[in-house]
Symmetry: C2
């Protein structure tokens, strides 16, 4: 399997310089935003004591930044921000498995974006808006359904951002690589199995009175998604 995500970007190379598979780098801003807006969690890497550390973090894209947040009590990202330590933040979507007619040509469809830079605190006069934007991205409509943030909650929240200035995006999409004269047995099935994510049925908390309606924000989240295709609809040749 030669094309599991990104086996070939070298750490010694500047991130914009892709040594191999240059067709997998895109500079399409729209595609970048689409990826960042579809995912909810990225992986933040920093150097600490000379060794790499990587942790998952929830995020949202707000304009040309990704916004992260942490509490004031401590925190990986906060420390990197306060010391202006360079960070890398990667967001990846695994989109499917590519079944070729050999293991060697089998692959994964994916999109990934890696942002390099320095985390900076969102200025105080923009922090409320950034926090609301983060909330709206992760749980659309929820902010309007719950009480406002209390003063001490605001004080305990730090909002950080990373500019989308130095970004590498890579992707693989479509079916397996195949040619009529590639020597493989074309009578055998080859193709792609897409991977999709779905919100499942909400589960009420223990203190929620039985019969309490699911709020509109949750209903919208779970009903907006189209039903997944089933196997019975499958195996139409790709265009």
């Amino acid at each position: 399997m030669t094309s599991t995500p990104n086996p070939s970007a070298g750490p010694a190379a500047p991130v914009r310089r892709i040594r191999r598979l240059p067709d997998r780098e895109t500079v399409d801003r729209f595609a970048l935003h689409e990826l960042l807006d579809a995912e909810l969690v990225g992986h933040l890497a920093v150097v600490a004591g000379g060794v790499p550390v990587v942790v998952p973090m929830g995020y949202a894209r707000v304009g040309e930044h990704v916004v992260l947040h942490g509490s004031t009590g401590g925190g990986f990202a906060l420390r990197a921000a306060s010391t202006r330590t360079p960070v890398a933040f990667a967001v990846t979507s695994l989109d499917g498995l590519v079944y070729a007619r050999s293991l060697f040509d089998s692959s994964m469809n994916y999109r990934s974006a890696t942002v390099q830079g320095v985390l900076e605190p969102v200025p105080d006069d923009e922090a409320d808006a950034a926090l609301l934007a983060l909330s709206e991205r992760l749980m659309p409509g929820r902010a309007a359904e719950v009480r406002g943030m209390r003063r001490k909650e605001v004080a305990a929240t730090r909002v950080l951002r990373l500019a989308l200035d130095d970004v590498v995006m890579k992707q693989r999409s479509g079916g397996p690589s195949e040619e009529p004269d590639d020597g493989e047995d074309h009578a055998a099935w080859a193709g792609v199995v897409p991977l999709v994510r779905r919100w499942a049925a909400p589960i009420a908390s223990g203190l929620t009175p039985p019969g309490t309606p699911v709020p509109e924000s949750v209903r919208a989240l779970t009903t907006a998604q189209s039903p997944p295709a089933t196997l019975d609809e499958a195996s139409e040749p790709a265009a």
Copy 2:
């Protein structure tokens, strides 16, 4: 939202020392294997030129290692292995959104594992088995359906592994934190919206003859999954 994945692990802290939220660290080996066996892509971080670099990579757990692979032509992981550069490899599953009765207490359910160590080449006499194990994890049953690896394909493939010796696992599960006397309006719905992944209907490649049956490996992948719960089944109070 105080509990997006892992906002609080400090880079200056040894990875086994969790400064806050100690209840989110588990040392349950079974849970670690379960997470690693459910996911397909992790994020590998290294230090290059003093700055962090992070890339997604397909992987499989084989015993007490994670196995990665790259081609011999170049590669991020290969270089780290050849120079015995310390790496960190993180695998995260986002399991759901936690709708509390305030934004501040809203959260995400997730499981994450971060492995620190040094990548090492799988010894030649174990490489075939490791590659097969990787294949079986990513595409169970596929190896038996396709031709064997050609000599030049084997020669072009390097298999690397990272021991599961230095691992931190964190997780959040269950409903929102709530107490009868927490001062929130308990008449309002709170709960969890689980996030699930599903294999969608396979799409045949352009050279696959129309009507070619989907192979057993693909059929097993897509039929093994139970149908997702629907909103109509929702809102039963959590146990």
